[in-house]
């Protein structure tokens, strides 16, 4: 009987170990299969140039190489990146990214991005994307698009690092009907010390346009945010930023110079 018990216990342990190993083998096989399929997909796609990217259909897979120009705050294993190469710009929205890898996405860094081309309220972007770090470094020079404001040609520069020269700060109207130089959030519903974007109006050639300090791109510790907080109606400013689109041009400003 003792021998029976010993054999039985051993059999149980062996059975248990086999069961565990079987599950582990299955998991590893699944992972291996997934990795090889992913690699194959990557290899089957070439890297597009900007013209090919522009021509690509919405919802199609795109593979591009471009240089990081700036990033929004990393969050929840995702990061939004402003990208550009010598031919044009790209906007990678909520790209999968670990916190460690986010530290590598410094301005100038070349990366290869694989994702899907999408459009959200006029903003053409790459979503559900992953990226690889590559060798290469380049920083774009802001294109002066002041004269293109209000024209159909501005769209061709979407997402690019651009500049606007000699604009005049125009009043925004706060909730109490007062004229102010900027608002916390689009209607003034935000407040200092919260995660509020800043909205301000500026004019050139008799037309007024709205500009935004995107909090997750330039927060309250940045020069740009603080410069807007210090604006006065009538100030003349030069602006730099990325030509983001939301139902029309809505530049994400990164630099404000009061003249």
């Amino acid at each position: 009987m003792k021998r029976f018990l010993a054999i039985s216990m051993a059999a149980v342990m062996l059975f248990g170990l086999c069961s565990c190993n079987k599950d582990k083998d299955t998991d590893e096989a699944a992972e291996s299969s997934a990795v090889s399929e992913e690699s194959a997909a990557d290899k089957s796609e070439g890297v597009m140039d900007h013209a090919e990217y522009v021509a690509a259909d919405l919802d199609s897979e795109v593979v591009i190489e471009a240089y990081v120009q700036d990033t929004q705050s990393w969050w929840n294993d995702q990061i939004t990146v402003y990208l550009q190469d010598q031919d044009g710009a790209y906007f990678a929205y909520n790209m999968a990214c670990s916190e460690e890898d986010a530290a590598l996405l410094v301005p100038g860094q070349l990366i290869k991005v694989t994702g899907y081309k999408s459009e959200w309220s006029g903003e053409v972007e790459i979503i559900d994307a992953t990226f690889e770090i590559e060798d290469g470094n380049w920083i774009a020079t802001p294109a002066d698009v002041t004269d293109l404001l209000g024209t159909a040609d501005l769209d061709a520069h979407q997402n690019e690092l651009v500049s606007f020269k000699d604009l005049t700060i125009e009043p925004s109207i706060d909730a109490d009907g007062n004229e102010v130089a900027f608002l916390y959030n689009w209607d003034g519903s935000g407040a200092e010390g919260t995660d509020s974007d800043l909205y301000f109006n500026a004019s050139v050639n008799g037309q007024t346009y709205t500009f935004v300090i995107e909090y997750y791109l330039r927060n309250e510790t940045s020069d740009a945010y603080q410069a807007v907080q210090g604006l006065n109606i009538g100030d003349t400013v030069d602006l730099e930023g990325f030509l983001y689109w939301y139902e029309g041009a809505q530049p994400h400003i990164t630099s404000v110079t009061v003249k």
Binding site: S8, V12, S60, A175, S189, T194, Y246, G248
Partner: protein
């Protein structure tokens, strides 16, 4: 203008995971006991974390409520911190539980409270406070007119209950509405039914996809037309399952969403997304932008977003030259059984966080209760398609007058906004909420994720079939950690496990038998 909401949509996914570890370091606070009387001889500082819909009027209402309350209770100072997203509040509360720096009063959702309660005595149970004759609802010692417990809409009060205990009071309620371009529906040869059905919406949406030879859509003459856009796809799935009587979760937190009905619904959604007749906010943009530009026929969004809906909407993100004139009909969300309409109840509630000093907690309760007085309730409800949570406010002549003045102007009395409020008032008994448990927020996110995923997939020419659904279920369960949820249904045991347990039982039976045999043998000797 309101586009920034998009950037914080993904916050909630990570939060349940964060909390799983963050509560371990929190200090234990003693359960709250109501003091005999409120001490107004010393100053008390409380913080109030509130949410507004990036709506400055709502901000002003909070500020006025605080100012009026402080006049009544000069020794209480209320510090307001404003948020524009519930997920961000949730995240910050979780972070602050660990350091015992939670706010005193917080606008929140019961789903979130269930997670906060993972800590010890973090959230104050309110039943005893409700019934306190002096400081409770309608209490004699209050310095304002508070509703009695019977005057809080019972359905909404029930929504604040977790495991039989009230941990919140309702603040505002809304539901979803379908904002319909009636002009286009009729131009397509259809007549709107009394209650919108899913079949009707899908049929009209497909009919609207007809194109002219030049590639424009026949119905609007434009290059863009997405007939059916849903803002909150988690609500979409939850309501569909409820209307079908299919599983979502049990009250205890067992996950039931991965079932055949869900698969059938996902395939239906996919088939209409494939033709371009259906899309979502996350994929395309705000339903209001498309509706108002004549590029959408059925726009489902919260009644609390009604001020953005329609040709004459007081708020808009699109330029005037894109606005199209049409007649808007505010209807309940599509139904499978129009005889028994069912729709989600949503909207913020108020919870109170426990503190060492009972006087501080009592001060928090006094302020929280002040937020459901008529003045605050009516003023806030008028900012959007919300409704007050008390019959006291609903029956107030000022509120009745407000409802009766529907359409007088395109601001305070904007017709679509008031119609949205009326829709909810008329359907209060047809609303429901999903079970609340630690992890219910993740399950809600998962419900929406699956609709977003099938929609994206078919747009990318990926086939949505049984194999796809099976993989989606697995991926979703893993991504939202539904497979690790306490109370979650783990399903039947695998064969190997059953065999192992059977073998163990046999071995233990053998041990027992040997023990008995050995004892009997010794006795005989």
């Amino acid at each position: 203008m309101k586009h920034f909401i998009r950037k914080i949509l993904s916050i909630s996914l990570v939060l349940s995971v964060v909390l799983a570890t963050s509560c371990h370091g929190s200090r234990k606070t003693a359960a709250f006991d109501i003091p005999d009387s409120f001490d107004d001889s010393r100053n008390i500082e409380i913080t109030f974390w509130a949410k507004n819909d990036t709506n400055i009027t709502q901000t002003r209402i909070y500020e006025k409520a605080i100012s009026d309350f402080e006049e009544l209770y000069p020794n209480i100072n209320v510090n307001l911190r404003l948020y524009t997203d519930y997920g961000k509040i949730y995240n910050d509360v979780i972070t602050n539980i660990a350091t015992d720096t939670t706010p005193n009063v917080c606008i929140t959702y019961p789903d979130h409270i269930a997670t906060y309660m993972t800590g010890n005595n973090v959230v104050v149970p309110l039943d005893t406070l409700f019934e306190d004759p002096e400081y409770g609802l309608g209490g004699t010692e209050l310095r304002y007119d508070s509703p009695s417990i019977d005057q809080v809409i019972p359905e909404y009060l029930d929504e604040c209950m977790i495991d039989g205990v009230h941990y919140a009071i309702p603040f505002m309620r809304s539901t979803e509405a379908c904002y319909v371009n009636k002009t286009y529906v009729e131009a397509l040869g259809y007549e709107l039914p009394e209650v919108l059905t899913w079949d009707f919406v899908w049929e009209v949406s497909e009919a609207a996809m007809a194109k002219n030879p030049d590639g424009t859509f026949a119905i609007n003459g434009q290059m863009t037309m997405i007939p059916f856009i849903y803002k909150s796809t988690d609500n979409m799935m939850i309501q569909m399952l409820r209307q079908k009587g299919a599983g979502y979760s049990t009250e205890e937190g067992s996950v039931e969403i991965f079932n055949d009905t869900t698969a059938e619904l996902l395939k239906t959604v996919a088939s209409h997304a494939e033709t371009g007749a259906f899309s979502t906010f996350k994929i395309s943009s705000y339903p209001a932008n498309f509706l108002n530009a004549g590029q959408c026929i059925f726009a489902v969004d919260s009644t609390a977003g009604a001020t953005w809906m329609g040709t004459d909407a007081p708020l808009t993100d699109i330029s005037a030259d894109k606005l199209v004139q049409f007649e808007t009909e505010v209807m309940t969300v599509p139904q499978f059984d129009p005889e028994n309409p069912q729709m989600i109840s949503q909207g913020p509630s108020i919870c109170i966080f426990n503190k060492e000093d009972p006087q501080v907690v009592l001060a928090s309760w006094l302020f929280a209760q002040y937020l459901i007085t008529n003045e605050v309730q009516i003023a806030y409800a008028e900012t959007e398609g919300y409704v007050p949570v008390t019959s006291m406010a609903r029956e107030d002549e000022d509120y009745i007058d407000y409802l009766n003045r529907e359409g007088e102007d395109n601001s305070l009395y904007y017709s679509i906004k008031i119609q949205a409020s009326k829709l909810l008032i008329e359907n209060t008994s047809n609303t429901f909420v999903t079970p609340v448990f630690n992890g219910s927020t993740s399950l809600r996110d998962a419900a929406g994720y699956m609709i977003e995923n099938v929609t994206k997939s078919v747009r990318r020419h990926i086939t949505v079939d049984d194999a796809y659904i099976e993989q989606l279920y697995s991926d979703t369960s893993s991504l939202y950690r539904l497979d690790r949820m306490v109370g979650g249904d783990l399903g039947p045991l695998p064969g190997a496990s059953k065999a192992l347990l059977t073998t163990l039982a046999v071995v233990w039976a053998g041990i027992g038998a040997y023990f008995v045999y050995d004892r009997m043998k010794k006795k005989k000797q």
